[in-house]
């Protein structure tokens, strides 16, 4: 071929290569014909549900306050004091209505326990119940809370994890809470951002796992060193230690972390426990900031073995901030959703959707990250995300909140952040080397994601359309059927922002069923119980969790959307004790109150 023609063709080829990203972007953009201001009826007709933000209208008048830590951190205070807004759902008084507990983090600030009055409104009873005044600079401030009935008296008790002294409150039959921290033998000081209740050895007593973030020797109000930051942006192992506290049954807990083989010092931000291998024992997935994730498989309640690399989840280091499980493909297996950081043009870690490989199971368990393939990869500076069937169509959807620091809209801190993050450990680990933030934003004012599962392996974002339009710095998300209507409402805790409640309205012909479980020989909270529902040729598994997602806990009750005209074959309940209970053709549209058979 003529050399000149070849040259021209090569130029065309070259230009085509350069234009390719633009073409791919154009093709991958979904065009949503419905505008953001579309009436709810239209949205419901299209997507099956619609949200309305009603927090203030129903009495949730809470705004989170951040802590003021040691003055040596002042120049990067917004970055360090960037967590603490958390939310957990509990029916603390067993009246059948889900209540809301939210944490605050300013010194002297009050946590709130919003009692669900059942008439549509909520009332703060935290002070009266004795769980409000828990944030002081000498004992630390709240980072989150999880509820579990550790003494099996039928009432959910409260564990408060903090940057500071953790607290355990025993629920006095819904009439108030008694502080039992010292008697329980909890660690004197932690800097933790996650904890969960689980019965790791299936002895019928709830144990407690706590994931440290900053090292526990640091008092962030009285620093004796400025070397408090991670030693590496992606390989840090100088974070807080972990605690597995075994419930001895007499109100005391024993630290069994080392003997169970858990030695991690990564910067854990979220943990979820679920039986991922079908052994009956809960495994642990740790979502770690500044490093790889860890998966601890439970070997018969006597040892935890870390298998992150072998299973594929512990290979690529990112900024893990969330851990939640859900059977998104209705195949009877749990997928894990882990959030990370994505900032256009700077840092594109992408979130992880760890889907178990088809051929893997048990000890051969392997995961593949299908976040990109399934459309849930990019969520900004993502924090909490929860699975739940938001439109009751029979497939689990995904609600994600995000946004790190929303300050000056015109100036951002990304350049300085990236400058130090790439430097040597001696530089990155010392706060005095970090440039001042000077009121700049860092991935602020971000749009949230409400990813709808189409049931065919794809999720698509409908947040703006269904009414989730806030751009606060979201931290925690909890899902609950707050008004016993058979739909999942969404509560969002925002850092230095208001508590939001998105009330859900779902199309009427989408059916549902729910299970409220109570253990007998198993722990009374029934944490770890699996319900496997078979209907219309589908199978979905859900597990009662003692904490899920960053700084959050969903309602204990398990909610299944069923879609139109469902025919339920059976529900198989596997209790932590190992007992199997089968309900044949359970009635739809009600909450089944089930107690573990004696």
């Amino acid at each position: 071929m003529n050399r000149r023609i070849l040259g021209v063709l090569l130029c065309i080829f070259f230009l085509a290569l350069i234009a390719t990203p633009l073409v791919i972007k154009r093709l991958s953009e979904r065009h949503e014909p419905i505008g953001a201001a579309t009436p709810c009826d239209t949205v419901i007709a299209r997507h099956g549900f619609c949200f309305q933000e009603v927090a203030k209208a129903v009495g949730l008048d809470f705004t989170h306050q951040a802590p003021s830590l040691d003055p040596q951190l002042n120049h990067i205070m917004p970055e360090v004091a960037a967590m603490g807004a958390a939310v957990s759902i509990v029916d603390f008084d067993r009246d059948g209505w889900q209540d809301i507990y939210v944490t605050n983090s300013g010194e002297g600030s009050q946590n709130r326990l919003y009692r669900n009055l059942g008439d549509g409104a909520f009332q703060d009873v935290a002070a009266a119940m004795g769980v409000a005044d828990v944030n002081q600079d000498n004992t630390g401030v709240s980072m989150g809370a999880v509820w579990g009935d550790y003494d099996n008296d039928g009432y959910e008790d409260l564990f408060l994890y903090k940057w500071g002294r953790p607290e355990l409150f025993r629920n006095d039959q819904g009439r108030g809470f008694m502080r039992v921290t010292e008697h329980a033998g909890l660690p004197p000081w932690i800097n933790a951002n996650t904890a969960i209740w689980l019965d790791y050895n299936r002895d019928g007593l709830l144990d407690l796992f706590i994931g440290g973030y900053y090292a526990e020797h640091l008092n962030l109000w009285k620093l004796t060193t400025t070397k408090v930051m991670p030693e590496s942006f992606e390989y840090a192992q100088n974070g807080g230690r972990k605690y597995m506290l075994r419930n001895l049954g007499d109100g005391k807990f024993e630290d069994v972390t080392e003997q169970l083989g858990i030695h991690s010092r990564r910067w854990t931000l979220a943990v979820v426990a679920a039986d991922l291998r079908g052994t009956g024992y809960p495994d642990l997935f740790l979502s770690n900031d500044y490093g790889v994730s860890e998966l601890y498989i439970n070997e018969g309640g006597t040892y935890f073995k870390e298998v992150g690399k072998q299973t594929g989840v512990g290979f690529a280091p990112k900024s893990g901030m969330n851990a939640a499980v859900g059977d998104i493909l209705n195949q009877g297996q749990f997928t894990i959703y882990e959030t990370n950081i994505s900032e256009e043009g700077i840092l594109l870690q992408g979130n992880n959707l760890w889907v178990p490989s088809v051929s893997s199971a048990g000890d051969q368990l392997k995961y593949e990250n299908l976040a990109r393939a399934m459309g849930v990869e990019l969520g900004g500076w993502s924090f909490c995300a929860q699975f739940g069937d938001l439109n009751n169509d029979g497939y689990l959807d995904l609600y994600l909140t995000n946004g790190f620091i929303s300050a000056d809209r015109e100036r951002n801190y990304w350049y300085d952040f990236s400058k130090v993050a790439g430097g040597n450990s001696a530089i990155i680990s010392d706060v005095k080397h970090w440039p001042s933030m000077e009121g700049r934003s860092l991935s602020g004012y971000q749009q949230k994601r409400v990813w709808l599962n189409d049931g065919a392996g794809q999720f698509f974002d409908v947040a703006q359309v269904v009414g989730v339009t806030d751009t606060y710095d979201g931290r925690a998300v909890a899902l609950a059927d707050l008004w016993n209507r058979g739909v999942l409402d969404v509560v969002v805790a925002n850092q230095k922002g208001p508590l939001l409640l998105y009330k859900n309205t779902v199309v009427s012909d989408h059916q549902w069923i729910a299970f409220a479980l109570e253990g007998n020989s198993s722990n009374r909270s029934a944490i770890g119980t699996q319900v496997r529902l078979f209907w219309n040729g589908l199978e979905q598994v859900q597990e009662v969790s003692g904490g899920s997602g960053f700084g959050a806990q969903n309602q204990r009750r398990l909610h299944f959307g069923l879609g139109k005209q469902p025919h339920i074959e059976k529900a198989v309940i596997r209790w932590p004790s190992g007992q199997i209970q089968t309900l044949t053709a359970p009635q739809i549209g009600i909450v089944h109150q089930l107690k573990e058979p004696a």
Binding site: F233, E234, V292, G345, L347, L348, G350, W414, G423, N424
Partner: protein, 290 residues
């Protein structure tokens, strides 16, 4: 001149043919393989110790694409099979420096890098360092899919010292150490200036050069002989200018300042040199006549 010899994107590579020293002759190992070997060692050590790649398959994709494109284009354009060391280094650089959750950017960046050598050229020289060009294009046109914030060495001192030590020895062998040294000194000087201007801690300004991205940038990009000027003094001036432009970009808070600085200064310096050489060639016969 055949670009398969001239378009090598590391200093080590293209020096070889013309500057085989006597010492190199008895050193039987073909030195064109030194750069690929060195960068492969970095890759393997980093992957085994830190697992530092986005994924091995993505890096393999980048390398394979670079090799295939080089083979096809060179064969079509020049009618002969090329030596693949240069393309291999480009591919592996892309595979390490590009970060994307998707696969296609790795292939595309490699393809753009290699093709640029054949398209963006004048007087039988290509103007941009191939992987620098490819990465800059990707960062500019696909910011939603591609990033290059790389912290792959774990921010630790030991790997950094090993890389600097080995890299310096190899670069010294090929008489290009002065380029690296000038750049590093310039960077530190300008870090001081930036610190003075911004009020930020000096160590914060120096921090980037202690990271792994700069090791690749310094040893594999700024030393590329075919995209740097010929004279030793000119090379020092050019990398000084690269550091200067980088400082200006950094003052404007550009995250990828070094890539963009080389992207801007490298071709400009080449064009000036090409123009100067042409002028000298034109003047020489005239001078002879007079």
């Amino acid at each position: 001149m055949n670009p398969q010899h001239s378009d090598l994107n590391t200093s080590i590579l293209s020096e070889t043919t013309s500057a085989m020293s006597a010492r190199a002759r008895w050193f039987k190992f073909d030195q064109r393989y030194l750069a690929p070997l060195f960068i492969t060692c970095i890759l393997i050590a980093g992957q085994l110790s830190f697992g530092f790649l986005e994924s091995l398959s993505r890096t393999v994709l980048a390398i394979m694409t670079a090799l295939v494109v080089e083979l096809v284009v060179a064969r079509l354009y020049w009618g002969q099979w090329p030596h693949l060391a240069s393309a291999y280094v480009s591919g592996i650089s892309v595979g390490i420096l590009i970060r994307s959750p998707a696969f296609w950017p790795y292939a595309l960046c490699s393809a753009i890098s290699i093709t640029s050598k054949y398209v963006l050229r004048t007087k039988d020289r290509h103007l941009w360092n191939p992987s620098n060009f490819g990465i800059c294009v990707m960062l500019l046109v696909a910011p939603g899919t591609v990033a290059s914030l790389s912290i792959q060495w774990g921010n630790y001192l030991l790997p950094m010292i090993v890389i600097w030590f080995l890299g310096s020895i190899i670069i010294w062998q090929f008489k290009r150490f002065h380029i690296c040294a000038t750049y590093v000194l310039s960077f530190v000087l300008f870090a001081l200036v930036r610190s003075w201007i911004t009020g930020h801690p000096f160590l914060a300004e120096v921090a980037p050069i202690t990271g792994p991205m700069y090791q690749l940038f310094i040893f594999f990009m700024i030393t590329d002989p075919k995209t740097t000027v010929q004279s030793k003094r000119g090379q020092c001036v050019v990398v000084f200018l690269v550091a200067l432009v980088e400082m200006l970009l950094r003052l404007n808070e550009s995250v990828y300042a070094p890539f963009y600085a080389l992207f801007l200064v490298g071709p400009a310096a080449n064009l000036v040199e090409i123009w100067w050489c042409s002028r000298q060639s034109a003047l020489a016969p005239a001078a002879k006549l007079t």
